[in-house]
Symmetry: C2
Subunit: 491 residues, 2 copies
């Protein structure tokens, strides 16, 4: 069956003076665009279909489409076809001398390939506070009055150093406070000048990736893992290599093929499954990173919250001069919108990455950094963490008992360690965890589907459930709603 | 004359069993690396030189270098040559099974190409506060006590919305306050949802570039212009097209060749020369952006400070649905380390860029944003700007009279308009403005060399002198120091 636009072009082809076939087709399409027969943003027939309708070779059609595209009459969007441009040259080139108003079409909102890719994988959720939201601490339990008072004192008459751009990698007081804190509580060994204060983990990952990876370089990530890392790697054109996770953390390949430039791991508390990386696995990974001349990026996002057993020391401190870039955040220990994190840079990268940071992002937010340093120095930070450890342990216990009682012990994820701000509820492989989570979210229960934390197709199904921000008295009601959603999803 | 390493390789070539020449050369170099004769990080002879020394064809040498590189024995750094790797495969591949410690070399600190390029053009200065520093407002004149009080009130008992990640593009109160402010003071027309609060101008430029430019796309910038834009374009692999600037702003080419995806301009007060873009130039640029399907990025960094005549309305408001992305900052009106700026997004890009922002950088810093919104709403912001306008006008007058008195009227840059936070002191084409600025900086006078604001070689010489942050009583002394440096530099 002929399409309307095929008919139109066939007719116009006939109207063209005798000329080479591709020239006549070019004119027919161009005229149709200029007189509005093919309106802006309309989709041209696929080259194969148009060739068939007009009885031309596909190459002729492709040549003409390419010329039209080069001249700006049409544009192609990868995977979805060729479209008439919003602004076509004949109508607009004159605007460079003609008065404004001749061309009132809105400009085309075409995104870059990296931008399109990023939005295709957009994962940040609109709702950022509610029952069972994973990864969010109890922001109301933070002693806001103490930090507020310290900050008010500093910001009333701030020093000039707090007000201008920072080239030092952040507030020197905060760097010093972190060195002490990290040594004692995380077995991280570093000097103050190795610490770079960042706008959270995302900026840290972005900086490291841009400075250390060429487009096409390999980066290993955990599968499943944090979506944020994947998106930053995508936008930087890095080749993402997902590595499975077992009860001992990331499973590195038996034989190293290629040379991973960066290896992203959460060794103290794998995100989201919860396993802890074994010592032998840690040593093996360090050896592999050295062999490849690459770097391990240790994302130590919530290891302050371990409710039983010894704290797990960081990979960074396991050996001297380890090829490890250590990343930490205040999002889980203070509150997410504080938007402060830090990187412990290996000495060989220290000056380069600090310099790149001030070139790319410039420094700032120094008053809140100074205030936080004082908050840490005066002991409020560790006191708050200790209090939250007790609170979150109790809430975690309450949630696991609800799960065991209603769904049985097997519903608790295998690798869930007694730590962190969330746990994984296992679902059978045939369950649709995305549909269940969507239904629950609509009823205000902000669980997240486990399958979405995988990059490749998987038959693992489950729900991430945050317990840190949910008072026990709200948990039972919310859990009943979740049970209804599970039931409706035939689990 | 033969070099030492040439001699060594020549000798080892002879020791190799009869084989193809390139195979023998490969073995000779590899052995020298493995036994440490060519130590890690040492530079190999340039292929041309080695070929000459060994009497081989350059192609043979290149082939061998490439193979050694593919196998990880050497690496090349663009523009500086080929180096022996820190970690060579034979010594280290066994580390994947051998115990840790076998390979104790520190990991190689090789940066990515974009990273190397960025650092080659690093321009952020270590000193960020001092006499005549350009682009820095008088941070001590800001009413810190007022903003501090507002912030203390909000942060003592913050709402949950201020504490979790933001997906809305920033604090809604600040978005609304900015809509009113921008309409009245800058003739910018927008809705609150078009406003995205960013971590300053750099993040705004980075976001726009990543989302709208593919690698290799053209971006027009002003020549001379702000170094920060160039560095962000470089790291995103965008093709930078510098366009000259005259007394009417950026001079667009007579005939548009290519399709600029982004056009970066400072129409209200060209940075750093100070000219104001004429209406006809504005209209022409808008037409060109539309014709190319591209976007103008209007960097309106300091136009609040215009000391005579009418304020210059923004390009954004010149016509409805203008293809303009408007960028503003609080760095000049409040203080740099506040690290807050904003983008007024065109409606066709609004949702995409806000979503990309939360994927890439996540949102936050909402307490200070709310506080700033209240500060604006209560009139403190415009009152401060009015006060600073008088103060900076007086300081500018004092500096220009010093210049005219000691160096004559011709020393004042041609396009200097009576605005902004800095002016340009002209120097003769034979002056070495970099050397003069370096000498002055060493004596605490933080002028910047004009030639460094050009991307291409130029014979324009001059000094950027900030006047906003310098009390008159300090200016005369500092100016005398500068005169001595000029004299020493034979100006």
């Amino acid at each position: 069956m002929h399409t309307l636009s095929g008919d139109l072009l066939l007719q116009r082809l006939g109207e063209q003076p005798a000329d080479k076939l591709h020239k006549r087709l070019y004119n027919a399409i161009r005229t149709s665009i200029l007189d509005g027969s093919l309106p802006p943003a309309s989709r041209l027939l696929a080259s194969r279909d148009l060739a068939q309708e007009l009885g031309l070779s596909r190459n002729t059609v492709l040549t003409v489409y390419e010329q039209l595209q080069a001249e700006g009459y049409v544009y192609s969007r990868q995977g979805s076809g060729t479209f008439v441009a919003e602004i076509v040259p004949d109508r607009c080139l004159s605007a460079t001398i003609a008065p404004i108003g001749v061309c009132a079409e809105p400009p085309r909102a075409e995104l870059s390939q990296r931008g399109t890719l990023l939005l295709q994988h957009a994962s940040a959720c609109p709702a950022q506070w509610g029952v069972f939201i994973p990864g969010v601490p109890d922001v109301n339990a933070f002693p806001h009055h103490i930090l507020s008072k310290i900050q008010a004192h500093i910001s009333r008459q701030p020093t000039v150093q707090c007000l201008t751009y920072s080239n030092q990698g952040g507030s020197p007081e905060l760097q010093r406070a972190l060195v002490d804190y990290l040594r004692v509580s995380r077995s991280v060994h570093c000097e103050p000048e190795q610490i770079l204060i960042t706008e959270g983990v995302h900026q840290a990952i972005d900086l490291v990736t841009r400075m250390l990876c060429n487009p096409g370089d390999d980066a290993w990530i955990e599968e499943p893992g944090y979506w944020g890392i994947r998106n930053i790697l995508r936008v930087n054109n890095v080749n993402i290599c997902p590595m499975a996770v077992d009860e001992a953390g990331m499973v590195p390949p038996e034989q190293v093929t290629g040379r991973p430039r960066l290896i992203f791991v959460t060794p103290s508390h794998q995100y989201p499954l919860g396993s802890v990386m074994s010592l032998s696995r840690r040593q093996r990974l360090l050896g592999m990173a050295r062999a490849a001349g690459g770097w391990i990026v240790e994302d130590d996002y919530d290891s302050e919250f371990r409710f039983s057993g010894q704290p797990i020391p960081a990979l960074q401190g396991l050996e001297a001069d380890a090829p490890v870039i250590y990343i930490g955040t205040f999002s889980k220990t203070v509150y997410p919108a504080l938007r402060l994190g830090y990187v412990v840079l290996p000495k060989p990268l220290m000056n380069e990455l600090k310099s790149a940071h001030s070139e790319l992002y410039r420094g700032g937010h120094l008053i809140i950094q100074s205030a936080l340093a004082q908050f840490i120095r005066e002991g409020h930070y560790t006191a708050h963490i200790r209090r939250m450890r007790l609170l979150y342990a109790r809430r975690r216990g309450f949630l696991t008992s609800l799960i065991e009682q209603h769904l049985g012990k097997k519903a608790l994820g295998r690798f869930n360690s007694n730590a962190g701000l969330h746990l994984v509820l296992n679902l059978p492989a045939e369950a649709d965890d995305v549909a269940i989570a969507t239904a629950a979210n609509q009823r205000g229960v902000l669980v997240r589907p486990l399958s979405r934390y995988y990059m490749l197709p998987t038959d693992r199904r489950g729900l991430l459930m945050g317990f840190a921000s949910v008072p026990e008295e709200e948990m039972a009601t919310a859990f009943n709603i979740l049970l209804e959603c599970l039931h409706a999803g035939r689990v």
